[in-house]
Structures are given as structure tokens and as C-alpha cells.
């Protein structure tokens, strides 16, 4: 049982390049999320998905796109990377059942540097 797996773990991009971060979960979770972590700002939600084929914007969605074609996968795309997107990116997933505040399960993060 791998939980939430993010690939790659590290990446360096040049300004203007594009890339896709992949998140995969094997816990049959309905909900999936992409966060970015920056010093002094905690984790901020970029986009999230409440089910296959559906996505929604979070707090800081500009410059990112997402897709959830399969329940177990959630992709985060950067079409034209900018230095402001240098960050650590976390994927997370959770069950839909909310009676007990189903906690989020996190991947180990992707450190992205844009030069």
C-alpha cells in the first residue's frame, strides 16, 4: 500500500518551460488536492477535485492547470513556468465521508525550482 505517490521528487525548469506533476493514490479516495508550500506562508491550495472528471480552483490557481481523468490520478500542469512558481508542491487525497473529518493523506512533495 503506497498511499500517495508524487513524481518527480525534484525538478529544475527554465522560465517558460512546461511540465506536469503526477499524483497517484491507491486508497480509493474520492477527493484529491494540490498545495504549494512556501516559507512563512504554510500550504496554500492550488486546485482540487471531488471526483473523476471534476476539478475546482483553490486559493492560488493562476498559472496552473489540472486534470483528473482517472480516480486514482491527479495531474498538475505548468504551461509556462515562472520563477514565482519555485516552491514545494504537495498532493493530498481524502475520503468523501465527512462525518469524522476524514483527514488528508499527503505525498512526500516535489521540490520545483524555476530559474
Amino acid at each position: 500500500n503506497a498511499g500517495v505517490t508524487q513524481t518527480p521528487k525534484f525538478r529544475v525548469l527554465k522560465t517558460g518551460q512546461s511540465m506536469t506533476l503526477l499524483c497517484a493514490q491507491d486508497m480509493n479516495h474520492e477527493y484529491m488536492y494540490w498545495y504549494r508550500q512556501d516559507p512563512g506562508m504554510g500550504l496554500r491550495l492550488i486546485h482540487y477535485s471531488v471526483g473523476e472528471g471534476t476539478t475546482a480552483k483553490g486559493e492560488v490557481p493562476d498559472g496552473y492547470n489540472v486534470s483528473r481523468l482517472k480516480k486514482q490520478n491527479f495531474l498538475l500542469g505548468l504551461e509556462s513556468a515562472a520563477p514565482s512558481q519555485t516552491s514545494v508542491y504537495f498532493c493530498a487525497s481524502s475520503f468523501r465521508v465527512r462525518l469524522v473529518g476524514s483527514p488528508l493523506h499527503f505525498g512526500n512533495g516535489t521540490r520545483l525550482t524555476v530559474t
Binding site: 504554510g42 473529518g101 512526500n108
Partner: protein
């Protein structure tokens, strides 16, 4: 929109002592959950403790306990008998119970805790 504030960017404590991390939040919701997550240098996000707002009893998990003051919108974390392995960044987080919110977490800025030998 909800906000979560952790006013202590850094804290330190001696091994075996007790430390309390502060968290305040702002919301107009009445039903919600609060969490503390721990992030050690490995970068992994680890759930420490969870509190349901409709429960008045404070949650406890071994050496970790919370002081939940709903009226004051305060949710502090107490770590007893601190251990070196408790050294980490600690995040307070809020989740409302509305189905339309998709179980999203709103995080505070984090508190870096260092346990000294």
C-alpha cells in the same frame, strides 16, 4: 473565507519539558474540524491530532493534547515530555463541514519547533 494564524514562527524547548503552540482561526461556520500536522525535515506531512468543533472535550493523542476554545476561536497544541523526534514544523489547519468545500484544509503559516537535548 477562513483564515488560520500561527503567531509563533519559531519555538524551542528542552527535552522532557512541555511546550504549547498557539493557533487562532476565523470562520463564520459553526461546524468544522481542526487539525495539527507535523512536518519533520523529511518533508512528510504527518497528522498529529484532530478536533471536532461540536465536541467540547479536548482531543488527546498520547503526549499530544489540544486546548480548544470555540468562542475564542483558539486551538493550541500541547506537547508533553518533549522528545528530540518532535523537532519539526507544526501546522494548524481548518476544515469546514460543508459538502461543497470538498474537505479542503486551510493552513496556518507554521511554527518551527526545536527540541534541545
Amino acid at each position: 473565507a477562513q483564515t488560520v494564524t500561527q503567531s509563533q514562527p519559531e519555538m524551542s524547548v528542552q527535552e522532557a519539558e512541555t511546550v504549547t503552540l498557539s493557533c487562532t482561526y476565523d470562520t463564520s461556520e459553526s461546524n468544522y474540524y481542526l487539525f495539527w500536522y507535523k512536518q519533520p525535515p523529511s518533508r512528510q506531512m504527518i497528522l498529529v491530532i484532530r478536533q471536532e468543533a461540536y465536541k467540547q472535550q479536548n482531543a488527546t493523542e498520547n503526549r499530544f493534547s489540544v486546548n480548544f476554545q470555540k468562542a475564542a476561536k483558539s486551538f493550541s497544541l500541547k506537547i508533553s515530555d518533549s522528545q528530540l523526534g518532535d523537532t519539526a514544523m507544526y501546522f494548524c489547519a481548518f476544515m469546514d463541514r460543508k459538502e461543497t468545500s470538498g474537505s479542503r484544509l486551510t493552513f496556518g503559516e507554521g511554527t518551527q519547533l526545536t527540541v534541545n537535548p
